[in-house]
């Protein structure tokens, strides 16, 4: 599963997800893509599940790009622990996703297969998504 090799800090603050994604909001590699319509934290397990769902649906052909990377550690306190005594231990890694962000890109398959594959991937993700494709002339619609 995806996780950083080296980090500056083991634990980070929660942060807020304000606004929309002005970067990473256009198709860069593939002809089809999955665009986030709401914000959320997508964990590395969810990314992996989405990737497997797409790969199983497209079978052999096609190429998939994962445009998000889980670089934010989430900590959890152990069960039946009283409050205090410091922050919990890192449990999972998440990618911060804002509305407009392209999550996955796909190429090399017909549109109906790409649509089916990306809808299956969308079911594995905690954000609302939309299927997008590159229009004639290269521009993403």
């Amino acid at each position: 599963m995806l996780l950083p090799k080296r980090v500056k800090h083991r634990k980070v603050q929660k942060g807020r997800r304000r606004g929309i994604a002005w970067r990473g909001c256009n198709l860069s590699f593939g002809r089809y893509g999955l665009k986030a319509m709401t914000c959320g934290w997508v964990s590395n397990r969810q990314i992996e599940a989405a990737r497997v769902a797409v790969t199983r649906h497209i079978k052999r052909g096609g190429k998939l790009w994962v445009n998000i990377f889980p670089d934010k550690p989430l900590t959890v306190k152990p069960a039946e622990t009283r409050m205090g005594k410091g922050k919990g231990n890192p449990e999972k890694w998440v990618a911060v996703v804002k509305p407009g962000r392209i999550l996955l890109e796909l190429d090399g398959v017909p549109e109906d297969i790409a649509r089916g594959a990306l809808i299956r991937a969308a079911h594995k993700l905690p954000v609302r998504t939309k299927f997008v494709m590159r229009a004639e002339g290269g521009q993403a619609a």
Binding site: K8, K59, R60
Partner: protein, 242 residues
């Protein structure tokens, strides 16, 4: 050959967030016209006409822009879209001289199925647009490239494009445009997700790591002492009861 589209624009005096939003709610978008050493002019255009223009003539359309009484030959330099809704927000028009060549990016598309794909390979398009130099009215909307000859593991480069009349390709000749990748094995396709404990990445800064390590050791020692004390207390109580 490009058909020059006529677009009606109205000059605007107000700039900024508020007037821009008012324009967009009224079905128009702010735009700017600049280039050829003349001062820039702020205009507004109908959003439906702009959508039609982008859809029909592509991202760098050659336009005859009517601003009030004047008509200017311009190229659609850039169009900004909203990241979520995808609606047009703003357009940049670049003044051009129809008698002089321009450097412009033209989208490329593949035509026909490569030999490598018939053998089970995957066609990948590495570049979506190429830079060309041509007269504005000879600019093609899209360049269609015949990729039939590409075999598995081979690529089609910019130097392989057939010469086109009146169009000079500026993209470096050794730039790969299309390639056919070898098919992947099924084992590679679906790798089993790793189960078990969350792996921890290396923390940058060894001094801090040591400190953290020491702190953890101290914590562990402290906990062990507490436990020992608690046990001693419970045992003492039991003995007292006896």
């Amino acid at each position: 050959m490009v058909q020059q589209v006529v677009l009606q624009a109205e000059p605007r005096t107000e700039c900024g967030k508020g007037p821009g939003r008012r324009l967009r709610t009224n079905g128009r978008i702010p735009a700017v016209v600049y280039g050829l050493g003349r001062p820039p002019v702020n205009v507004s255009v109908n959003v439906r006409e702009m959508e039609h223009l982008v859809g029909a003539a592509g991202t760098h359309a050659i336009v005859s822009l009517k601003v009030g009484d004047q008509t200017e030959n311009v190229m659609l330099q850039e169009s900004q879209r909203h990241p979520v809704t995808g609606r047009l927000l703003h357009a940049d028009f670049f003044r051009i001289d129809l008698s002089k060549t321009i450097d412009v990016a033209v989208p490329i598309e593949s035509v026909s199925t490569p030999v490598g794909v018939k053998d089970g390979g995957l066609l990948e398009q590495l570049l979506r647009e190429i830079e060309v130099r041509c007269l504005p009215l000879t600019k093609p909307n899209v360049i269609r490239v015949n990729v039939e000859s590409i075999r598995i593991g081979h690529s089609l480069f910019a130097r392989d494009l057939p010469p086109m009349e009146g169009i000079e390709i500026l993209t470096p000749p050794d730039t790969a445009l299309f390639t056919v990748l070898a098919p992947r094995k099924e084992e590679e396709l679906v790798a089993a997700p790793a189960e078990g404990e969350v792996q921890e990445p290396e923390v940058i800064g060894k001094g801090k790591e040591k400190e953290e390590g020491e702190a953890e050791e101290e914590e562990a020692k402290g906990e062990a002492k507490k436990e020992a004390k608690a046990e001693a207390k419970t045992e003492g109580k039991k003995e007292g009861k006896k």
